[in-house]
């Protein structure tokens, strides 16, 4: 079990808040759509802080007018991967940005195993640090 104050992985914009309801998610999707951003849904069973590429649940959704379709996809992803981490990412294609502009977690496992810190003592008092996902001690597909 994780020992930080909310006992969970705190990546994303809203991890310190109670889990977002579908209504709250819809409002955030609406915000992104109004800005003209595309929206991607991604899932993983290894939330290591440097694990950039979560699996895409389909391509990012472009040109949508209304959040209902995205929420439908989020729920379909939750149904397929009920114990994975799922995040919603918004992409801004504007020159000078061309990068994600929102990212928040909308699904996570009931028990989050967290991470260990592996220390390799090197010259003098220097240490090389490795953050290790406990989840990856088990093979893919059997982690939660």
């Amino acid at each position: 079990m994780m020992t930080n104050s909310n006992q969970r992985v705190t990546q994303g914009q809203f991890s310190f808040l109670p889990d977002l309801t579908d209504t709250q998610i819809t409002a955030q999707l609406e915000y992104a759509l109004k800005k003209g951003w595309a929206i991607g849904i991604e899932y993983t069973d290894d939330p290591h802080p440097r694990n950039t590429y979560w699996e895409m649940f389909g391509n990012p959704l472009f040109d949508l007018r209304d959040p209902a379709g995205i929420l439908m996809e989020i729920n379909s992803c939750r149904k397929t991967f009920p114990s994975h981490y799922i995040r919603v990412t918004a992409f801004d294609a504007t020159r000078g940005v061309e990068s994600p502009t929102m990212s928040y977690i909308v699904n996570r496992p009931a028990k989050e195993p967290g991470f260990g810190l592996v220390r390799q003592e090197v010259d003098n008092r220097s240490i090389r640090y490795t953050v290790h996902s406990y989840a990856t001690d088990k093979p893919e597909g059997e982690r939660y």
Binding site: R65, D66, P67, A68, G69, I70, M72
Partner: protein, 301 residues
């Protein structure tokens, strides 16, 4: 005495400003009296249903999916746009846009292709109206492995589960739509409103031609106007007549001929062309159509 619950129906109509859309329909569409009547009925039904909902008399959202039947060029697409606006103003769809598709936009070429395609379209249409033209092509009984059926099933599911999120309008020829419904009872049962679009009469088409010419910033001279009436009368008798669409095509061709005529005049006519020359269609521009070649000509140009 205050036990009688009331709702201000007038206010609903006034605040949604739905009357403005109805007036726009009356203004921009020639003829189509039965269609206009149906639109008014549906608008009234939507307003009353909203009032009922406010008083807690309606539990679940009504099914609002529709079917527009009629021959090509009878105004189905235009009415779909206005209907989306009415639905939006009365709060039945959140955004009020129309996504217009045909079979090719929904059905894939190979296995596993159709579901994402159909879902993609549905996601885009959410918050508005999905207009499926010639919807019966989705169903091809002659090929039992046709992917159209897969698309229909996804459509049905969303039409049932996401009533709050979108309204589907199916459109096409009346007889083919009837056949489609008889073999797809699931679809038939989910369509709440039917509107049949009659063909335009000859005088209505002449009036449409007049409106179109005006919108294009052209005008008929006196003989041209007569010629156009004559043209429409003949064209009506021929196959593949597509109502307002055929009129528009005829006008486009007349503009080409007019341009040709002015071009040919260069050198022979010494005066400069006037704005009036540039915007006048003459009888010859219309009479050159092949419709006038023989009394029983089967093709048109």
């Amino acid at each position: 005495m205050d036990d009688v619950k009331t709702v201000d129906l007038q206010a609903i109509v006034r605040e949604s400003n739905v009357t403005a859309v109805l007036e726009q329909v009356d203004r921009e569409l020639v003829g189509l009296a039965p269609v206009k009547r149906r639109i008014r009925e549906i608008a009234a039904y939507l307003a009353v249903t909203r009032a009922r909902k406010q008083l807690g008399l309606e539990a679940s959202p009504p099914s609002l999916h529709m079917c527009f039947t009629g021959n090509p060029g009878t105004g189905k697409t235009t009415v779909a746009l206005r209907m989306a606006e009415i639905l939006h103003r009365l709060g039945y769809v959140r955004k009020g846009h129309v996504v217009s598709v045909t079979r090719d936009d929904l059905v894939g070429q190979y296995i596993g292709h159709t579901a994402p395609k159909t879902k993609e379209v549905l996601k885009k249409a959410m918050g508005g109206v999905l207009f499926i033209d010639e919807a019966y092509y989705l169903y091809r009984p002659e090929n039992e492995r046709d992917y159209g059926q897969e698309s229909i099933e996804i459509l049905l599911q969303v039409m049932e589960n996401n009533r709050d999120d979108l309204v589907v309008i199916l459109a096409g020829y009346k007889n083919r739509m009837d056949t489609f419904f008889s073999s797809n009872p699931g679809m038939s049962s989910r369509i709440a409103q039917h509107i049949d679009f009659p063909d335009y009469t000859q005088p209505e088409l002449v009036s449409i031609a007049g409106k179109m010419v005006h919108q294009m910033n052209y005008r008929f001279d006196a003989e041209a106007e007569v010629a156009m009436g004559d043209y429409i009368g003949r064209r009506l008798q021929q196959p593949n007549f597509a109502n307002a669409r055929s009129v528009r095509n005829a006008l486009d061709r007349a503009r080409l001929r007019q341009a040709n005529r002015l071009f040919a005049g260069i050198g022979t006519d010494t005066r400069n062309v006037t704005a009036e020359d540039l915007s006048t269609l003459a009888a010859s521009d219309i009479l050159a159509s092949r419709v006038f070649d023989t009394p029983d000509s089967a093709t048109s140009t």
